[in-house]
C-alpha cells in the first residue's frame, strides 16, 4: 500500500545535512518520483542536534517521516544515529559516521558521552554501515565531502535510484570545481563494506 521511501539524515547543526538532503531529493526527482523534504532552519542550527527528512514515491503527502518507517537512517555523528533510531524500519539500514562531536552538556559535566557507542550501535541496528567518512574524505583531498561519502553508502539501499541519476544530482548540487571530488567521494562510499 505505502510505497513511499523515507530517509532520515541526522547530525549536528553545521555538518552539511542540507547538501546531502538536496542531492538525495534531486536524485529522486530525476527518477520521476514525487518528492518532499523537510529541513531544520533557525535556532536548532547553532550546533544543536538536527535532522533532515526526505520522502519520495508515486504520490507523497506528509513531508515528515513516521516512526519505524525510514528505509535508511544516515548520521554524520556517531551518537546522533541513536537519537533518531526509532525512525528506522525493522529491516532498514543505518549508515553512521564514526565522528565524535562532544556536546557542551558533556564538557560542562552535566551529561556523559557513551563510551561504547560503537557497541550500542551494533546492538541497536540489524543492518549497520559504520565508517570513518571524515578520514576517507580527507584522503580524497577534502574533509568537507564526508557527507557525500556517507550518501554513497546510503545509496546501496535505494535500488530505485541508479548510479547515473545520483551522478546527475551531484552535478547539479555542487560547485563545478568540486564535482569530480564529490563523485569520487560518492563512489568510494558506495563501495564501503555493507556490514561490519
Amino acid at each position: 500500500m505505502n510505497k513511499t521511501t523515507s530517509i532520515v539524515l541526522a547530525g549536528v547543526g553545521g555538518q552539511g545535512i542540507l547538501l546531502a538532503s538536496e542531492i538525495l531529493a534531486k536524485a529522486a526527482g530525476f527518477a520521476g518520483f514525487d518528492v518532499k523534504t523537510n529541513e531544520v532552519h533557525g535556532m536548532a542550527q547553532r550546533g544543536g542536534s538536527v535532522i533532515g527528512q526526505i520522502r519520495y514515491g508515486e504520490k507523497v503527502f506528509s513531508p515528515l517521516v513516521s516512526k519505524g518507517e525510514a528505509t535508511v537512517l544516515m548520521s554524520l555523528e556517531r551518537i546522533e544515529a541513536l537519537r533518531y533510531a526509532d525512525f528506522l524500519s525493522p529491516d532498514g539500514l543505518a549508515v553512521v559516521n564514526s565522528q565524535v562531536i562532544i556536546p557542551t552538556t558533556v564538557s560542562s559535566g552535566s551529561a556523559v558521552y557513551p563510551e561504547n557507542a560503537k557497541e550500542i550501535l551494533k546492538q541497536s541496528f540489524k543492518h549497520l554501515v559504520y565508517l570513518d567518512a571524515n578520514r576517507i574524505a580527507q584522503e580524497l583531498g577534502n574533509p568537507k565531502c564526508a557527507n557525500v561519502v556517507l550518501l554513497g553508502a546510503l545509496s546501496t539501499k535505494l535500488e530505485n535510484l541508479t548510479p547515473e541519476i545520483w551522478e546527475q544530482a551531484i552535478r547539479e548540487c555542487v560547485k563545478p570545481k568540486f564535482i569530480d571530488l564529490n563523485i569520487t567521494a560518492f563512489q568510494t562510499g558506495a563501495k564501503a563494506p555493507s556490514e561490519l
Partner: protein
C-alpha cells in the same frame, strides 16, 4: 519542468509571478527565507526590503498597496502582534492594490517563544486567511490572495507554518504577469482617511465585505476542495494537517479548506450532510471547530486531536486510535532505541561568539539580567546561565527599566542585540533616559541579525538588495535619546568588559553600553589564532569550560582540550586561565 522548492521559495516565486512590485518584511523563523529568495532571484523584477520591525514593514507594504501596487509583507507569527495595529485599521480602508500579509506560524515552537495561532487575527481584523498545504499551493494561493485583495478591497492574510515553509515539494513554474493598470495614488479621503465620521462608514463596508467574501468562499473561489471517500467519516482540515490526514485516514472523505475564515459555511454544511460524522483536524487551536459549532454544524476535533504542539502522521494515528477506542502502539515495528542515555545536544553560542565574553563577565556581578531574543538567548544554557528573563523583542530594555523602578535593591542589567535595538529597543532606551531608570542596558552589537541567519539591519550599512546605505550609529542614537553615560567596549577583552560593567553597575545613573564585536560567522577569517591547552600546565580546574565554548571539549575523565577545527581564536579561554596553560 517541475522544480523542487521550499514553501518559502514558492512564496517568493508567487510574488514574482503575481506581479508584486514591493515586498517588505522583518526576519523571523520560519518566514525569513521568503524575502531572502526574493532578493536572490527576483531583485531585478521587483523591490524587496527588510524593515526595522514588522509594524513598519506592514505600513510600508500598505503604502504601496494604497498607491495601487501589489505588495506583500512577511513576518513570523509573533511579528503580527507588532504589526497588529496597522493591520486592524488598514482592514477598514482596504487598499486599491493588493495587500497580502504572509505570516509564518511555528507550531511546536521550534524557534519561537510562543505557539500563537495567527488565524485569530483574520477573525479579529475581519479579513480572509488562506492556508497552503505545500509549495505548489503556497505559490498558487498567494496569487489568489492578490486577486481577492483587489476584488474585495481587503487585506488578505496568508498563513504558512514551519512545515510548509521549510518543506520542499515540486512546483511547475509560471510566467510573471503584471496587473493591467498604472500605479499611482488616487486621492479618496472617504475611503482612505479614518477620522471617526469616515471610519463609521467603513465599519459598515467591512461587515458587508465579510459577508460577501464568506458567500463567495463557498461558491466561487475554488480554493476549498472535497475529496470524496467513505461516507462513514468526513474530515475537515486545512494547511499542513491535510497531508497527515491523507496518510492516516486514506478512506475518509475530506474537505480541504484553503480559506477557513470567513468560514465557507454553505460548503461545509453540504459536506457534513454527506457523511455520518465529521472530524476537524487543524493544527494548534480549535479555530475552525469552534466556528463550525457556532454555525450549528455538528463536529468533533480537539476531543481527539491535540491543541498543543505540531501535528504529524504519528500524532494523528494516536488521535485515530483514541477516536476508535483502541490502544495506540507507537511504532510497534521499529527497532528498540538504545538503552544508553544520550547526552542532550542543545544549540549553543558558537566558538568565538562575542556574546560569550559579556555573559561570562556578567556572571561575576550580583545583578538581575533582563534578556531578549536573539543568538544571545543561547546564553541561558548552562554553564553560562546568564539571562534571567526572556519574553519578546524589546523587553531587554523596557523590562529592565521597570524592574529597576520597582523598588528592588539588586541592580538590573538589560541586554539586547543590534537588530533588536532597531526593532524595538530604541523606544525603551528613550524611556530610560527620560524617566531616569537606574539600570545598565547593553546593546550586543555584532553588526548583523544573526539568530535568523544573518540578515542586514539598519546598522550594517547595506540593504537587502545589496545597495550601500549609511549605517545607523547606536551611540549617536543613545545620545540623541538623552543618555548621558555611554561607553563602547570589546566583549572579547575580559578585563575591559569587567571594568566597564563594574563602573556602570555601581553608578546611580542610567548607562548605555555598546558591546562591539562582529558575529564570527560573518567574519571572513578567525578572530585570532587557534588556541591549545598545554596538558602539563593544565590543572584541570575547568574555568575555561565554564565559558561554555563548544570548541573546548572534555569528559569526566580527561582534561579539557581545544578542538582546532572549531576554535575561532577569540582568546577568552586564554584570558580566564589562571595557570597560563592556554596559548596560540
Amino acid at each position: 519542468m517541475k522544480q523542487l522548492l521550499s514553501g518559502n521559495e514558492a512564496l517568493a516565486r508567487g510574488m514574482y509571478e503575481g506581479g508584486v512590485t514591493l515586498a517588505v518584511g522583518y526576519p523571523g523563523t520560519p518566514s525569513t527565507e521568503i524575502l531572502e529568495n526574493c532578493a536572490k532571484h527576483y531583485k531585478d523584477a521587483f523591490r524587496c526590503e527588510w524593515a526595522p520591525n514588522e509594524k513598519v514593514a506592514l505600513e510600508v507594504a500598505a503604502g504601496a498597496a494604497m498607491a495601487g501596487a501589489r505588495a506583500c509583507v512577511t513576518m513570523k507569527h509573533v511579528g503580527l502582534n507588532v504589526a497588529a495595529d496597522p493591520l486592524l485599521s488598514i482592514a477598514y480602508t482596504g487598499t486599491p492594490g493588493a495587500l497580502v500579509v504572509i505570516v509564518a506560524d511555528d507550531p511546536g515552537m521550534h524557534s519561537s517563544q510562543n505557539e500563537q495561532d495567527s488565524r485569530h487575527y483574520a477573525r479579529l481584523a475581519k479579513v480572509p486567511v488562506l492556508e497552503p498545504a505545500d509549495s505548489a499551493e503556497a505559490r498558487d494561493f498567494l496569487k489568489k490572495a492578490f486577486e481577492i485583495s483587489e476584488t474585495y478591497r481587503t487585506p488578505v492574510i496568508l498563513r504558512t507554518s514551519t512545515r510548509v515553509s521549510h518543506s520542499r515539494s515540486l512546483v511547475e513554474l509560471g510566467e510573471r504577469q503584471m496587473p493591467d493598470r498604472e500605479i499611482g495614488f488616487q486621492k479618496d479621503p472617504k475611503n482612505c482617511v479614518l477620522i471617526p465620521a469616515f471610519a463609521r462608514q467603513r465599519r459598515l463596508v467591512v461587515e458587508e465585505r465579510l459577508q460577501q467574501i464568506q458567500a463567495d468562499n463557498s461558491d466561487k473561489w475554488g480554493i476549498n476542495r472535497i475529496e470524496k471517500g467513505s461516507e462513514k467519516l468526513g474530515i475537515v482540515t486545512e494547511g499542513i494537517a491535510y497531508q497527515y490526514v491523507k496518510e492516516v485516514f486514506p478512506e475518509a472523505s475530506v474537505l480541504k479548506l484553503g480559506c477557513a475564515w470567513p468560514l465557507p459555511e454553505k460548503l461545509i454544511r453540504e459536506f457534513a450532510d454527506s457523511v455520518e460524522k465529521v472530524l476537524v483536524v487543524e493544527e494548534v487551536e480549535d479555530f475552525t471547530e469552534v466556528n463550525m459549532k457556532a454555525a450549528g454544524i455538528a463536529c468533533e476535533g480537539k476531543k481527539y486531536v491535540p491543541n498543543i504542539g505540531e501535528l504529524s502522521a504519528d500524532v494523528l494515528r494516536a488521535s485515530k486510535a483514541k477516536m476508535e477506542g483502541t490502544e495506540y502502539q507507537p511504532c510497534a515495528s521499529c527497532q528498540n532505541m538504545a538503552d544508553a542515555p544520550l547526552p542532550n545536544r542543545p544549540p549553543t553560542l558558537c566558538a568565538g561568539c562575542p556574546h560569550r565574553g559579556i555573559f561570562y563577565a556578567l556572571k561575576k556581578f550580583d545583578v538581575d539580567v533582563v534578556g531578549d531574543i536573539g543568538c544571545y538567548s543561547l546564553g541561558v544554557q548552562p554553564p553560562l546561565s546568564a539571562l534571567d528573563t526572556i519574553i519578546c523583542m524589546g523587553t531587554g530594555f523596557s523590562m529592565a527599566h521597570g524592574m529597576a523602578q520597582s523598588g528592588q535593591k539588586r541592580k538590573v542589567v538589560g541586554v539586547l542585540g543590534d537588530s533588536t535595538f532597531f526593532h524595538s529597543g530604541i523606544t525603551g532606551l528613550l524611556n530610560i533616559a527620560w524617566n531616569k531608570a537606574n539600570c545598565t542596558v547593553i546593546v550586543l552589537d555584532n553588526r548583523i541579525t544573526a539568530m535568523t541567519g544573518h540578515q542586514d539591519n539598519p546598522g550594517t550599512g547595506q540593504t537587502l538588495m545589496g545597495e550601500a546605505s549609511d549605517a545607523a550609529d547606536i551611540a549617536a542614537i543613545g545620545k540623541a535619546c538623552g543618555m548621558k553615560n555611554i561607553a563602547e567596549f570589546d566583549p572579547l577583552n575580559f578585563e575591559e568588559t569587567t571594568a566597564i560593567l563594574k563602573k556602570s553597575t555601581e553608578s546611580d545613573e542610567p548607562w548605555l553600553l555598546i558591546s562591539k564585536s562582529p558575529c564570527v560567522l560573518i567574519m571572513k577569517e578567525r578572530v585570532g589564532n587557534v588556541r591549545s591547552i598545554d596538558p602539563e600546565k593544565c590543572k584541570n580546574c575547568r574555568v575555561c569550560v565554564k565559558t561554555g565554548c563548544p570548541a573546548i571539549e572534555c569528559t569526566d575523565k580527561n582534561k579539557p582540550t581545544i578542538n582546532p577545527l572549531s576554535c575561532n581564536g577569540c582568546s577568552l579561554c586564554n584570558q580566564v586561565c589562571k595557570f597560563g596553560a592556554i596559548s596560540e
